[in-house]
Amino acid sequence: MSLFPANSGPTVRAVHDEFHGDLLEVSMGPQHPSTHGVFRMVVTLDGEQIVKLKPVFGYLHRNHEKIAENTSYLSSMPYTDRLDYLCSMTTNWAYALAVEKLSGQAVPDRAQYLRIIMAELTRLVNHSCLVGFLFNDLGTSFTPLLYAFREREKILDLFESLSGSRMMCNYQRFGGCRVDPSPEWLAAASALVDNFPRFLDEYETMLTGNEILLARTQGVGRLAAAHAINAGITGPVLRASGVDYDLRKVDGTGFYPRFEFRVPLGAHGDTYDRYMMRILEMRESVKILQQAFKTLPAGPIMDPKAKLRGFRPKAGEAYGRLESPKGELGFYLISDGSPNPWRYRVRPPSLINLTLLEEMCLGHTIADAVVILGSIDIVLGEVDR
């Protein structure tokens, strides 16, 4: 049994400590407006300062991996939508990537471009919403989120007209994509992307120089680069600490080497850098998207040899990974030649980025813990799976 069973005691209790004086133990979550879902932190406080923070996971453990091991490869694709439910397109792609490695399927050029378009649109959705949620945690009740969701709805309309669903797109297939976008769709998407920097300018005018943001985030939740590397932190959280590690450049996933973009890096590794990281990455995503719409080749979107029904890869193992908006998202599959994967494992960036939460929070106040958690960008569907 866990140290903090689900039904343990009152929410706030005093911890008698002869050395430090009496401490206060506060249980935040699983129902808490700023824990981004059903995450729970047991925070030990000395006055208002955090001396210990224990994360409690598992409130959304819905057996994704076990279910995937008992169903066919294709049937797991809709489940990957629900893994990171803000970025279904990238989780789809990461899973398709792993299966393609396992079976050795090739992906046509047009599908590679479409995957990058979908992934970068997803990054825009994720990062703009994350910034909105971060400001919610700072206490600006809902307003930045309204701006973010206005843009999100525009992108979700595109996803819906293409794939049939707003959030759970189920778009990627092994060896390509499911639907080919029409020229009208591409024109609408291109117009949206061209207008996106205007939204970013508006967003930044409102937020970046904001006095409250500066006071609440600069120097808060510092994460040293060496520490982050040792803990396996990836994504914008790692790059905010100044480590140049982006799988789009390192691995050259898909056709990313064909695009010109920069990888923004932070200098301090604090919450403010993590916020700026998201804004700058969105600007780079816009650049990638503009190039992609200009150079999108014609052609098929599925490998003609791809076989969806009765799909049985040969025995072996494969690890497919890509730079999801939250960090390195990987799928590790072991096949024994049967229609189901023998082992199916997800490397969730949210969970691994969360492991250093205590280090980032120690010495700060309890109000800062909420902001630091918000800046890590977790989705509980991915943390608990």
């Binding site: 409130y59 959304l60 629900r82 309204l146």
Partner: protein
């Protein structure tokens, strides 16, 4: 004795129930609002439902989307999401309820004051949905708390949540204030709190509340 006939007996205004809808509509068009306390009470309550700010999984994102400018749940008077169950009227169970989370959901429900309502949003909250076969997933929140409105979908669109909310409003407006048909929260012996299950070693203990839920019997042919 005079021959003048006796004046007709005084008849008070007909009770609201005795007047036809057409007559009422006619009066309303002339600026006369005829109503009963019951209706006024239901109208007021149905248009100021405060939901509990409480998201479980994917559906919570669509719940937030329903609160933003495009769908604007404020049009139906339900935009005030309260983080505290003590101030909430409506629990929107938005997402997969795992066995670890179920005791907390029931405890939150118990902490909400009457009158309170529950919407099961999405396939997971209704029945476990796509994750039903999971060993840690509760197969529907109606095993432990009474659910008023079920909204299918995975996840339901924000419009579907708004439709569910208007259905709930109609349900609230139809509730009686007195008599044997009185609303549940006005009946002195109606249960308002439900036992919190334990997160046991293998399953929730008990796995469902027998007062609320009986597993459907599937007739099998020999």
């Amino acid at each position: 004795m005079s021959d003048t006939p006796a004046p007709p007996p005084f008849t008070p205004f007909p009770a609201a129930g005795n007047i036809s809808d057409a007559e009422r509509e006619d009066l309303r068009r002339h600026g006369i609002l005829l109503t009963s306390l019951e209706e006024l009470y239901g109208w007021g309550r149905s248009n100021s439902i405060w939901p509990l700010q409480f998201g479980l999984a994917c559906c919570a994102i669509e719940m937030i989307a329903a609160a933003t400018a495009r769908f604007d749940i404020a049009r139906f008077g339900a935009e005030i999401f309260r983080p505290s169950p003590r101030q909430a009227d409506l629990m929107i169970v938005s997402g997969t309820v795992t066995k670890k989370m179920a005791p907390q959901v029931v405890r939150l429900w118990n902490q909400m004051p009457e009158p309170k309502y529950c919407i099961a949003m999405g396939a997971c909250a209704i029945s476990g949905g796509p994750f039903k076969q999971g060993y840690n997933v509760l197969k529907g929140i109606d095993r432990f708390i009474p659910v008023d409105i079920y909204i299918p979908g995975c996840p339901p669109r924000p419009e579907a949540l708004l439709h569910g909310l208007t259905q709930l409003q109609e349900k609230i407006r139809a509730e009686r204030v007195s008599g044997p048909q009185a609303a549940r929260h006005l009946q002195p012996d109606a249960a308002s709190e439900f036992p919190v299950p334990d997160y046991g070693a293998h399953d929730l203990q008990p796995p469902s509340n027998p007062a609320l839920f009986t597993a459907p019997v599937l007739p099998r042919k020999a």
